[in-house]
């Protein structure tokens, strides 16, 4: 069953005094299945955050519908099952990290002992046990990000919506948050990861939806979107006569600092390796490359802009 269903979802921001509105999301149709980690990617202003706000019931769509767990997004039974971490979270700075988690836990039907257990577990999970008594106004960006993730998990949600979870973090902080997301993935949580860091999405997500100016440019698994290349690059150390032999096979060997590399069709890999063996060379690497998500995204955006300038 699809956990998230969006059908023809459209949102236009209209100015208060009339006039032309801004089309933030345009006829978005998308389903996200149970246990999937779905990446919603796109540049700033592409409609990612608007889509999330529509899913959370913070905004009302102009057209179309969205449902979570088969119910309207405003249903309290739905909200019991979701967790949301906003981009660059800001929380009540008169509270400590621990108090904040207790505050958010108070909105769920949990006994006091269960609440305490949950807060303890989450503080430990995000590595904030030592800073639990510190006021949030003294937290660094990374600490706020961690406590933001903890509050999103307070009800042990089935669906987690994470908006730019690593933005503004140092490499160690980003790495830790990514590891936490991987752990959640293993717990079979459905995760919507909204980010403009395409490398991160590529690493973490099973399926990706690309938004550009409110339109869904592409949607699919990484294998579907980024098919593996039909060629592989072979790097080797071989004598000059081997280069001649490779050229004779119709390939274009390139030599740099004593290392020869050649781009060969996958079907021609065995003959290339035979040449290396025959001339007593050393094989360093065979890499079958594929387009990155970033390259794919740029290509899609360019195609779109050519069609609709």
């Amino acid at each position: 069953m699809a956990v998230v269903e969006m059908q023809d979802l459209t949102k236009v921001y209209r100015p208060f005094l009339g006039g032309l509105g801004v089309l933030a999301v345009n006829q978005l149709t998308l389903d996200i299945e149970q246990g999937e980690t779905f990446g919603l990617v796109g540049p700033n202003g592409s409609g990612k955050t608007t889509t999330i706000k529509l899913l959370l019931g913070l905004l009302y769509p102009n057209k179309g519908r969205c449902r979570l767990f088969g119910k309207k997004v405003f249903a309290m039974s739905v909200k019991e099952r979701i967790g949301y971490m906003p981009e660059a979270p800001y929380f009540y700075d008169h509270l400590t990290g621990e108090q904040l988690l207790h505050y958010y836990a108070s909105f769920f039907a949990m006994s006091k002992s269960r609440r305490r257990e949950r807060v303890e577990a989450l503080l430990s999970m995000v590595g904030m046990q030592e800073r639990r008594k510190m006021l949030l106004r003294h937290y660094s960006r990374g600490m706020l990000q961690r406590i933001g993730l903890a509050q999103a998990m307070i009800n042990d949600p089935e669906l987690l919506i994470l908006d730019e979870p690593t933005s503004g973090l140092d490499p160690i902080g980003s790495y830790q948050i990514r590891n936490l997301i991987v752990e959640l993935k293993h717990l079979n949580k459905t995760i919507i990861l909204c980010s403009h860091l395409l490398g991160e999405v590529e690493t973490l997500c099973d399926r990706v939806g690309m938004l550009h100016r409110g339109n869904l440019l592409a949607c699919g698994t990484l294998e579907e979107l980024l098919p593996e290349a039909k060629e592989a690059r072979v790097s080797m150390q071989v004598p000059p006569e081997a280069e001649t032999e490779l050229s004779a096979m119709g390939l274009s060997p390139e030599c740099e600092e004593g290392l020869v590399s050649v781009l060969a069709p996958v079907g021609q890999l065995d003959p290339v390796l035979d040449v290396v063996r025959k001339c007593g060379g050393t094989l360093f690497e065979v890499r079958r490359s594929r387009q990155t998500l970033e390259q794919f995204f740029v290509q899609k955006v360019r195609e779109r802009e050519v069609v609709t300038p």
Partner: protein, 254 residues
Amino acid sequence: MRSIKSIATNMVGEALNRLIFQVILIFGVVFMVAGFFFTYLDPGEEGKMLKDLGLTTLTIFGMLMAIFMAVSTITPEVERRTIYCLIAKPVKRHYFFLGKFLGSVVILGIACLVMGLVLVLALYVKEQVWSLELLSAVGLTFVSLSIMSALVMTLSTVASPMLAVVGGFVFWALGYAQGFMHQLAAHADNPTSRGILESLGSLAPNLQVFDIRAAMVDQVYIPPSYYSWLGIYAVMYLVVVLVIGIIAFNQKQL
């Protein structure tokens, strides 16, 4: 109800930590105590002066607090995006609105209680008499502040904070000028002007009726029925304003 209580409690904690609340409260208490040092009047007049000044200070500082507090209930939550995490939890929008209102009422209650007790204490020191009847005036001021708080909160759901503050002051002025507005309307030749004046007079809460300073100073007896009618009026006005506020907030695009 659990959500309303949590939101209200959090708001009280936040407000008590906020500098503007502390400054208004401290200045209010200082102004009240300042009346204590007027010694050039006749002995009987000093007490009256202290009562009048104290209740006026309570009204003015309380009203400033009510307006600024109400404006800072919803807009900052949206601007700081703290509301996003809340609405993503099982919190209905009207619970949020009512929680914030309840929080404001508690804060205003604390402020009125502190300033009221300071006034009673100052009068005791001055006249060696516990003027506990003043607490009824303090109570009515608290009710009028709660009405203003609901009104400004409702305004802030549809207008910018600045506009809501201006609107709050306009309603405050209109609330104390009800008699004047109706007199003006009665003497207006133009039916449109009359209509506008009467509408404005009817829309604004009648704050004059909650102002029993003169009666307190002159020690005029106020029958309990007066308080009852005021209670009914306040509840009705609050319900109407809060329902409008909730409808507006439910429609708001966050």
